[in-house]
C-alpha cells in the first residue's frame, strides 16, 4: 500500500458531475503529474460531500480545506499554491462566500451533523472495496456470519429501534422477523432504491458514495431472514448508482464477500439489479414488486404484506437504501450505541436533502429530533437574500407544509405526523415569503394527478380533482364550497386510498389549509394574492 502526503477528494456526486467535476478531476491529475507530485498526492473521486449547490466541491486532506465551485482554470493555482507550496488558496475556499466555511469539518456544517449513514460518503473512494474494508467494511457481515445466529441479528436490529427510512417508518427488526418466521422455500431481500420523491436524492448519493454499505447490509438481511437472493430496484435514471452497485457486486464476489459460501460460513447470497422505468408509485413496495414481476406498476391490496407474500409470492423484505445503510454500524456497535443518537422514540439519524430557498442546499445527516430551525439556520446557512422564511415542506411532495411557528418542532417519525406532516423520505423544501401558497399547492397536485397509477378510485379520480379544484382557486374562480369539497375529498383519500400515494397526496393541501388558510381565503374572497406573486 502506498502512502501519500495529501489526498484530494473530488466530489463525484451527480450534482457535481453536472457542474463539471470530472474535468476538474482530470485537470488535477494532469497538473499533479506535470509538477511530479503524482507520487505524493492522490486524487480520489468520492461520493457526495454534501453541499450540492456549491459543486464542483473538492476537499484537501489532511487540512480538510473545502474548495467550492472549482473551475478547471482554478486547478493550477490550487495545485501549485496549496499542494506544492502548502498555502491554502483562501479566495477559492468557502470563506467569505456562501457557506462561510473554509474547512469541511467546520462547526456550522459537519459538526452539527452525525454521520452514520453517510459515514463513508465523501471520504472513501466508492469504487474501491479496499477502501470500504479499511473503513470497517464487511466487518459487520463477518461478525454476523461467524459470531451471531440469524435470530441474534434480528434481535439487535429490533432493539436498535431502527424504523424504515423510506417514509413509512415501520420497525425494521419487526419486518425482518415476519419474513424470518415465514415458511417458504425461497425468500428475497429487496433494496428499494426507486427514489422518486421530488427533492429527494439521498439514496442516490448513498449508493454513489458508499455502494458497499448497501451490499453488505443486504447480505446481512439475507442471513437474518434466510434469503439467498437480493435485488436492488433502482431508479432507471440513476446511471452512476447503477454502475457503482454493479462494480461493487463484482468486487464483493471476487473477494468472496458475496456469492456462494461467504467466508466459508455456508451462507450464500447474491444480488442483482432491477431498473425502474420511472413511475413514482413504484417506490411503494408492492407496486415495486409488481413491476419486478413484469406487471403494471400498481400497488397490491394489503394484507397480505410482502414480508410474507412478496416477490413471486414469497416472503420478501423490502428496505430503503438509507435503512440498510444503518445496518452495518448497528451490528458492529450495538443497539445501545445506536440508541445514543436521536430521540428515545426514534433513535438514530436522518439524512435530509435540502432544497429551495436555503443558502446551502444539499445532503446532510442529523440526529432524529433536530429542529427545523437548527437545520435551516445552522447547517443550511439561512434563507438567501435576507428574505423571511415562509414554510418548509418536510417529507417530499406528499409531506406537510409547516409554517414558521413549527420551526422548533422536533423532526422525527412520530412528532411530525402529529402536526399533520411527515418526515417521509427526508426531502426538505424551504420556501421564502415570495411564494404564493395556492400556486405551490397547484403544482404539487399536478404532480400527483400525473403520478397516480389509476388503480383505486380515491386516488385515480381524487388526485385529478384535487388539482382541478386547487387550479380553480389559483385562478381566482374558487368559492368557499370548493374549500369544503377539498377537505371532504382529502379526508376520503387519506382514509380510503389503496396505497401511500393516494393516502398522502392530500397531506400538503390539508396542512396548507390548516396553516395558511387566510391565503386561500383571500384568493377566494378578495381575488387577491397576499404575496402578490401568483397569476392572480
Amino acid at each position: 500500500m502506498r502512502f501519500y502526503r495529501s489526498h484530494v477528494l473530488v466530489c463525484g456526486g451527480t450534482p457535481c458531475v453536472l457542474e463539471g467535476c470530472t474535468a476538474v478531476r482530470d485537470a488535477l491529475i494532469g497538473e499533479l503529474k506535470r509538477l511530479g507530485l503524482d507520487e505524493e498526492v492522490r486524487v480520489v473521486e468520492t461520493g457526495c460531500l454534501g453541499p450540492c449547490d456549491l459543486g464542483p466541491v473538492i476537499v484537501v486532506y489532511p487540512e480538510g480545506t473545502l474548495y467550492e465551485k472549482v473551475k478547471v482554470s482554478d486547478v493550477p493555482r490550487i495545485v501549485e499554491e496549496h499542494l506544492l507550496k502548502g498555502r491554502i488558496v483562501r479566495s477559492l475556499t468557502g470563506e467569505g462566500r456562501v457557506l462561510g466555511i473554509a474547512r469541511y469539518e467546520e462547526p456550522q456544517y459537519l459538526e452539527v451533523q452525525e454521520r452514520i449513514v453517510l459515514r463513508n460518503c465523501g471520504i472513501i473512494d466508492p469504487s474501491s472495496i479496499e477502501e470500504y474494508i479499511a473503513a470497517d467494511g464487511y466487518r459487520a457481515l463477518a461478525k454476523c456470519l461467524t459470531e451471531m445466529e440469524p435470530s441474534d441479528v434480528i434481535e439487535v436490529v429490533k432493539e436498535s429501534g431502527l424504523v424504515g427510512r423510506g417514509g413509512a417508518a415501520f420497525p425494521t427488526g419487526l419486518k425482518w422477523n415476519f419474513t424470518a418466521k415465514a415458511d417458504a422455500d425461497e425468500k428475497f431481500i429487496i433494496c428499494n432504491a426507486d427514489e422518486g420523491e421530488p427533492g429527494t436524492f439521498k439514496d442516490r448519493l448513498i449508493l454513489e458514495g458508499d455502494p458497499h454499505s448497501i451490499i453488505e447490509a443486504m447480505a446481512i438481511a439475507g442471513y437474518a431472514v434466510g434469503a439467498n437472493r437480493g435485488f436492488v430496484y433502482i431508479r432507471g435514471e440513476y446511471g452512476l448508482s447503477i454502475d457503482r452497485i454493479n462494480e461493487g457486486i463484482k468486487q464483493a464476489k471476487a473477494m468472496g464477500l458475496l456469492g456462494e459460501d461467504i467466508l466459508g460460513s455456508g451462507f450464500s447470497f447474491d444480488i442483482e439489479i432491477r431498473r425502474g422505468a420511472g413511475a413514482y408509485v413504484c417506490g411503494e413496495e408492492t407496486a415495486l414488486i409488481e413491476s419486478m414481476e413484469g406487471g403494471r406498476g400498481e400497488p397490491r391490496v394489503k394484507p397480505p404484506y410482502p414480508s410474507t407474500h412478496g416477490f413471486l409470492g414469497k416472503p420478501t423484505v423490502v428496505n430503503n437504501v438509507e435503512t440498510l445503510a444503518n445496518i452495518p454500524p448497528i451490528i458492529l456497535d450495538g443497539s445501545d450505541w445506536f440508541r445514543g443518537f436521536g430521540t428515545s422514540r426514534c433513535p438514530g439519524t436522518k439524512v435530509f436533502t435540502m432544497t429551495g430557498d436555503i443558502n446551502c442546499k444539499g445532503l446532510i445527516e442529523v440526529p432524529m429530533g433536530i429542529t427545523l430551525r437548527k437545520i435551516i439556520y445552522e447547517i443550511g446557512g439561512g434563507i438567501p437574500g435576507g428574505r423571511k422564511f415562509k414554510m418548509a415542506q418536510t417529507g417530499g411532495t406528499s409531506g406537510g407544509c409547516l409554517p414558521a411557528e413549527m420551526l422548533d418542532v422536533p423532526m422525527d417519525y412520530f412528532t411530525l405526523p402529529e402536526m399533520g406532516s411527515a418526515l417521509g423520505s427526508g426531502a426538505l423544501l424551504i420556501m421564502d415569503d415570495s411564494h404564493c401558497i395556492v400556486d405551490i399547492a397547484e403544482s404539487f397536485m399536478r404532480f400527483f394527478a400525473s403520478e397516480s397509477c389509476g388503480k383505486c378510485v380515491p386516488c385515480r379520480e381524487g388526485t385529478a380533482r384535487l388539482h382541478d379544484i386547487v387550479k380553480k382557486l389559483a385562478e381566482g374562480n374558487g368559492t368557499g364550497e370548493d374549500i369544503r369539497l377539498l377537505e371532504d375529498l382529502s379526508h376520503t383519500m387519506q382514509r380510503t386510498a389503496l396505497c401511500g400515494l393516494g393516502q398522502s397526496a392530500p397531506v400538503p393541501i390539508m396542512t396548507m389549509l390548516k396553516y395558511f388558510r387566510d391565503e386561500f381565503e383571500s384568493h377566494i374572497k378578495d381575488r387577491l394574492c397576499p404575496t402578490g406573486t401568483c397569476r392572480l
Binding site: G454, P458, R495
Partner: protein
C-alpha cells in the same frame, strides 16, 4: 375461527373470511361495486370501506380478512362520507344519459347511487371523450362509460385466459382497452362476451341487431325463420322477470310467433344433427388413426380462441359446423326446397345465448347455401328487449310447439347448453352406433357439473375411450396445453368457451354468475330427463333429413353444407404498426 363484532353484533367465522362475507352472515349488506362473486377481489372502488377499531384507515370489506376480536363498524358518519365521496368521484366521470343506456335499470352503478341516495355530485362533470369500439359484429365497447373497476380485466385474464382487456394509462386517464389501444377486431379476442357479464355498467355490451330483425319482420317479401338455441329456453324467462332455472320452451315459441316470425324452428334439431355428424367423425378418426383427440366445434368463442392461441391444434377440431350454422345451411337449402321458397327470400334469424355467434354467422365461409346462412343472430338479451317492447305477456302465453321440419329434438340436444352436454349427447350416440348395443345407463354423471376440467372413460366394445371436458377458456387452455405437451391423452374433448357452457354465454341475461349458470344447467338436465327421446340418433326428423336430403353422415351433401374449416390467427394485434 374468529369472533368478530360487526355493528355491535357478534359472529363466528373462519379465519381469513372477509369482512364483507362475515357481515353478510349477520344480514348486514355492505354496499359494493367492483366486487364480483366469481372474480378475484379488486378492492379498487373503495365503496365497501368500513371502520375497524384501532385502525386509522378505512378498509375495504371485500378484501380485508377478519381477525379474532376485531370490531367493525359499517355505517358511521366517516364511512358514509367516504363512500359518498368515492361514489361522487365515479359519477362525476361517468355519462349521465342513463335513460338511453343499454343497462338502464340493470346497472350496478345506478343501483348503488340510488341505494346511497346520491342526489348531488359536487365535482364538475366531465367525460373522457373516448372512441366507441364497434369493430366486431359481437361486442360494442363504450369506454367512456367504463368505471375502471377491472372486473372485465379479471374475467378476461383469469377466467377466459385471453387477457384482451387491460388498464392502460395513469391517473384519471386510465382506460381499460385491448392491447395497444387497438380495436377488439384487431386483437386476439374470442368475442365470448364474458366481459359483458363482468361489467357493472354499460361499458361493454352486445351489438344490438334488433332493428335488422324488425325490418325483416316488416318486409312482406321476407320469409323470416328463427331458430332457438338450447340454452335460450332456460334463460329467456329471466329477461321477463322470472327467477333463473325455469324452462320456457313452449312460451318462447309462442312469443316468437307473436312477434311475427313466420317459422319458429329449433337449433336443438341441428344439435342432434351435429351429434350424428360429429359422432361419425369421431368413429372415423378412431378407425383411421386420427388426428386425435377430436375437439368439439360448437362453441364459436372457443373456435376463435383456438384460431388465435392454438393454431397448431386446428386439425384436431371437428370440421362439423356448429348447430347454428348447420341450421343456417339447411334452412336455405333443405327447408327452402321442402317449403318451395326461394332461399333469397328466406331471412334466417337465430336466438343465441352467445355474442361470438354473431361473428360466426358473418364468417365468409358460412355461406354454403349461396347466401349468408344465418342473417342475424339475436342474443337472449336482445330478444328480451323485443318482447318487452312488444308487450308480450309471457306468463300467460300458451305453450306452443316448434315448426317442422326442423323442430323436433331430443334430450341429447337439450343438454348441449350445459358444460359436458355435448359430450354426453355424443357418448349416447357413439356408443350405440359403434357397438350396436343399447346403453345400459343413459346418464353420464361424471361429465356433468361445474368442475373446470372433467374426465371420463367409456368402453366402446373392447376399446377404452377417454374423454375430457373443459368450460371457460382458462380451463380450456389448461386442457389443451396438457394435450399439446402430451401430458394427457384423450380421444375426444368438449370445449365450451363460457363458464358453465352456453347457459352462461355472453349473450345471456344479466346477471349471469356461477350460481346462476349452475341453476340454468341443472334445469336443462331436468328437461332432458323428462323428454321422451333422449338420444340424437332416435330423432325421427333427423332420420328423415338423412333419407330425403343428406343421404348419409359425412356424405357429400354433409361435407358441402355441414362441415367447415378454420383460419390460423395471430395472438398478437394484427397490424404491423408497433404499439405506442
Amino acid at each position: 375461527m374468529a369472533v368478530v363484532t360487526i355493528d355491535g353484533q357478534k359472529v363466528q367465522v373462519d379465519a381469513g373470511t372477509t369482512i364483507l362475507e362475515a357481515a353478510r352472515k349477520l344480514s348486514i349488506d355492505i354496499p359494493t361495486l367492483c366486487h364480483h362473486p366469481d372474480l378475484e377481489v379488486q378492492a379498487v372502488c373503495r365503496v365497501c370501506v368500513v371502520e375497524i377499531e384501532g385502525e386509522k384507515l378505512l378498509q375495504p370489506a371485500c378484501a380485508y380478512p377478519v381477525r379474532d376480536n376485531m370490531a367493525v363498524r359499517t355505517n358511521t358518519p366517516d364511512v358514509r362520507r367516504a363512500r359518498r365521496v368515492n361514489l361522487e368521484l365515479i359519477l362525476a366521470h361517468h355519462p349521465t344519459d342513463c335513460l338511453q343506456c343499454v343497462r338502464n335499470q340493470n346497472c350496478e352503478l345506478q343501483a348503488l347511487a340510488e341505494r346511497l341516495g346520491m342526489r348531488e355530485v359536487r365535482f364538475e362533470h366531465k367525460l373522457r371523450g373516448l372512441r366507441l369500439d364497434e369493430s366486431t359484429p359481437s361486442i360494442v365497447r363504450e369506454p367512456d362509460k367504463c368505471i375502471v373497476c377491472r372486473r372485465c380485466v379479471a374475467m378476461c385474464r383469469d377466467v377466459q385466459a385471453a387477457t384482451v382487456l387491460w388498464p392502460v394509462g395513469r391517473g384519471q386517464d386510465t382506460v381499460v382497452v385491448p392491447a395497444c389501444e387497438r380495436d377488439l377486431a384487431d386483437v386476439a379476442c374470442a368475442l365470448c362476451g364474458q366481459c359483458i357479464h363482468a361489467c357493472p355498467v354499460g361499458a361493454i355490451a352486445e351489438r344490438d341487431d334488433t332493428e335488422k330483425v324488425y325490418r325483416a319482420l316488416a318486409d312482406p317479401t321476407k320469409h323470416v325463420v328463427v331458430q332457438t338455441a338450447p340454452a335460450t329456453r332456460v334463460s329467456i324467462g329471466e329477461e321477463l322477470g322470472f327467477p333463473p332455472g325455469k324452462i320456457f320452451t313452449g312460451k318462447l315459441v309462442a312469443a316468437l310467433r307473436r312477434l311475427g316470425f313466420d317459422k319458429v324452428m329449433d337449433t336443438d334439431f341441428t344439435a342432434d344433427l351435429t351429434i350424428i355428424e360429429e359422432g361419425h367423425e369421431l368413429l372415423k378418426r378412431i378407425k383411421e388413426g386420427g388426428p386425435l383427440p377430436l375437439i368439439t366445434s360448437c362453441s364459436p368463442g372457443w373456435i376463435k380462441f383456438g384460431e388465435h392461441f392454438f393454431p397448431d391444434l386446428l386439425d384436431h377440431v371437428s370440421t362439423c359446423k356448429s348447430p347454428q350454422q348447420m341450421f343456417g345451411a339447411l334452412v336455405k337449402t333443405y327447408y327452402a326446397k321442402k317449403a318451395g321458397i326461394d332461399p333469397k327470400d328466406i331471412f334466417s334469424v337465430s336466438l343465441m345465448p352467445c355474442t361470438a355467434k354473431k361473428f360466426e354467422a358473418e364468417r365468409p365461409e358460412m355461406a354454403s347455401s349461396g347466401y349468408q346462412d344465418v342473417d342475424v343472430v339475436l342474443t337472449s338479451r336482445e330478444l328480451g328487449r323485443m318482447m318487452r317492447e312488444a308487450g308480450i305477456d309471457f306468463a300467460n302465453l300458451p305453450n306452443e310447439e316448434h315448426d317442422d321440419p326442423m323442430g323436433i329434438s331430443t334430450g341429447a340436444a337439450a343438454i348441449f347448453g350445459a358444460t359436458g352436454g355435448v359430450m354426453e349427447a355424443a357418448l349416447r350416440t357413439v356408443y350405440e352406433v359403434a357397438t350396436g348395443l343399447d346403453l345400459p345407463s343413459i346418464d353420464f354423471h361424471e361429465v356433468r357439473g361445474l368442475e373446470g376440467i372433467k374426465e371420463a372413460e367409456v368402453m366402446l366394445g373392447n376399446m377404452k375411450v377417454r374423454v375430457g371436458i373443459a368450460h371457460g377458456l382458462a380451463n380450456s387452455k389448461r386442457i389443451l396445453e396438457m394435450v399439446r405437451d402430451k401430458e394427457r391423452e384423450y380421444h375426444f374433448i368438449e370445449i365450451m368457451a363460457c363458464p358453465g357452457g352456453c347457459v352462461g354465454g355472453g349473450g345471456q341475461p344479466i346477471p349471469t354468475n356461477m350460481e346462476i349458470r349452475g341453476i340454468r344447467g341443472n334445469a336443462l338436465y331436468e328437461a332432458d330427463r323428462l323428454l321422451p327421446l333422449r338420444k340424437s340418433h332416435d330423432n325421427p326428423a333427423i332420420k328423415q333429413l338423412y333419407e330425403e336430403f343428406l343421404m348419409q353422415p359425412l356424405g357429400e351433401v354433409s361435407h358441402r353444407l355441414l362441415h367447415t374449416h378454420y383460419t390460423k390467427r395471430s395472438k398478437y394485434p394484427v397490424s404491423k404498426d408497433t404499439c405506442g
